[in-house]
């Protein structure tokens, strides 16, 4: 998957992208657009750094072409032995889970505590969400909360009205 020709192609693409962004920045005046392009430029440079490290790594080990890099997206990583995550459709009435979803008791939910390689699930308003690879849940903890519990009240107290947060999380089932 990560052969050298492909990495080179990706690198060239990033260089083109970076040059385009530099040009855009040098001619534009709009502050709000500038910050978006700066962010993209930053990400581009980080990715170039990453790929150059990867290339250097391969160059130093001639017989070692394929890195043990996971081919899965971060959202799917760590849940490979679970049922695959359906595409997320952020509907307004998301509190009603699809009928084919798994039913969790509170005791079952408690086993998905993000320890010993297990995924990290939390429940809000009766829906069970996967936070295993959610960036705000490093090591399956979030501002003193640990995974595997029902956090309806906590979500209300800190994120009232921010249903968009939930809409981005993969749904694993519902709480009975």
């Amino acid at each position: 998957m990560h052969n050298i020709a492909l990495l080179r192609l990706q690198m060239n693409h990033l260089v083109t992208q970076a040059r385009q962004d530099l040009h855009s920045l040098s001619v534009m005046n709009d502050q709000s657009d500038q910050s978006q392009i700066l962010q993209r430029l930053w990400d581009t440079v980080s990715t170039m750094h990453f790929i150059s490290e990867m290339l250097a790594n391969q160059a130093s080990m001639p017989g070692y072409y394929v890195l043990p890099a996971p081919t899965l997206l971060p959202q799917q990583n760590g849940t490979t032995n679970q049922t695959s995550i359906p595409p997320i459709t952020p509907l307004p009435n998301q509190t009603l889970p699809p009928p084919n979803q798994r039913q969790f008791t509170i005791e079952e939910l408690a086993t998905y505590d993000g320890k010993n390689g297990r995924p990290a699930y939390v429940a809000v308003d009766g829906v069970v969400y996967d936070v295993t690879n959610n960036r705000a849940w490093a090591a399956a903890t979030h501002f003193g909360l640990t995974a595997g519990k029902d956090y309806t009240a906590e979500f209300q107290s800190c994120h009232a009205g921010q249903q968009s947060i939930l809409a981005t999380l993969p749904i694993e089932g519902s709480l009975t």
């Binding site: 930053w42 990400d43 750094h49 993000g114 960036r135 705000a136 090591a139």
Partner: protein, 301 residues
């Protein structure tokens, strides 16, 4: 020629800081900038912020004393002691001054868990000093985790009943500089902005946007590893430290670009996770700082 062009000057941190300090020096000689009084009050804390401040470069702490402010009171650094020191504090009350406070305010037993001096043979508590000076200061800077939100001093079980500075001065606007400790640039930069241009633009939590606007995660040089799901398994690994409990994704500071100890390095650059020391609620809300037993799937060889 209306188009903005990329500046030809050097844009390293050192070069920018040197240009700023030279300009400030010049303006001061020309009488365009006036030094103002600064009271630096240390309450219930560890003095870590003032130690961090002494590590400042571009500008240094010496520059701050010579050119930026008249430091009228500092528990740690002043030569006076006893009631003579307190007298200096009382003298400032009738003048214009900027108040910087590090450390939390201990409330238990009317503040007697944190006594900073004596006045008229009575103990002067941190609570009294914070209220007395806070009401009269022209600007207030809450410096460090303890002053901004209670921090380590207010961590469970909080035996001294410590609270943030805002809790004892609910009606005063203050600039909040969280961090354990605060970066010398965050404090000196805010102070310089205050003297040159007035109060800097802040977010809804009172933090200056120039230092606290961006998530560490969005500027992290290891972000590509996160995006590809390549995670460190132990301290010292050169990949994304997310599965060990990195708090970079919930902490807003410019650490990845500013770095520490004279822009030499920063925690993630030294392969150890961010512990979220600049996030409100630190340390309790950011614990555990490191976890090895996590969602990471360990494959057998």
């Amino acid at each position: 020629m209306e188009q903005p062009i990329l500046p030809p000057e050097s844009l390293t941190n050192e070069a920018i800081a040197a240009r700023l300090t030279t300009t400030a020096d010049k303006k001061q000689r020309e009488g365009l900038i006036k030094k103002r009084n600064l009271v630096y009050l240390e309450l219930n804390g560890c003095s870590g912020n003032i130690i961090s401040l002494l590590n400042g470069q571009n500008p240094t702490f010496e520059y701050t004393l010579h050119s930026l402010v008249n430091l009228r009171y500092s528990n740690s650094l002043m030569a006076s002691e006893g009631e003579q020191a307190t007298e200096k504090l009382i003298d400032v009350l009738d003048e214009d001054f900027i108040l910087a406070v590090e450390g939390a305010v201990a409330l238990k037993d009317e503040g007697l868990y944190n006594v900073i001096g004596s006045w008229n043979d009575q103990p002067l508590t941190g609570l009294q000093a914070a209220q007395m000076l806070g009401e009269r200061a022209s600007h207030i800077l809450a410096v460090g985790a303890c002053a901004t939100h209670g921090g380590v001093s207010a961590a469970k079980p909080n035996p001294s009943e410590s609270v943030s500075l805002q809790d004892v001065l609910p009606d005063r606007n203050m600039i909040k500089l969280p961090g354990c400790p605060v970066h010398p640039d965050w404090f000196l930069g805010t102070l310089a902005h205050l003297l040159l241009y007035g109060e800097p633009e802040t977010d809804n939590l009172g933090r200056p946007l120039m230092f606290y606007s961006t998530l560490i995660h969005d500027r992290c040089p290891r972000r590509p590893f996160f995006d590809r799901g390549i995670f460190a398994e132990k301290l010292g690994d050169k990949t994304c430290l997310f599965k060990l409990g990195c708090r970079g994704p919930v902490t807003r500071t410019d650490c990845p670009t500013r770095q520490w100890n004279g822009s030499v390095n920063w925690p993630i650059g030294d392969d150890t996770p961010c512990i979220g020391c600049s996030q409100f609620g630190f340390p309790d809300a950011m614990a555990p700082f490191i976890s090895f037993d996590t969602t990471r799937v360990v494959k057998d060889e």
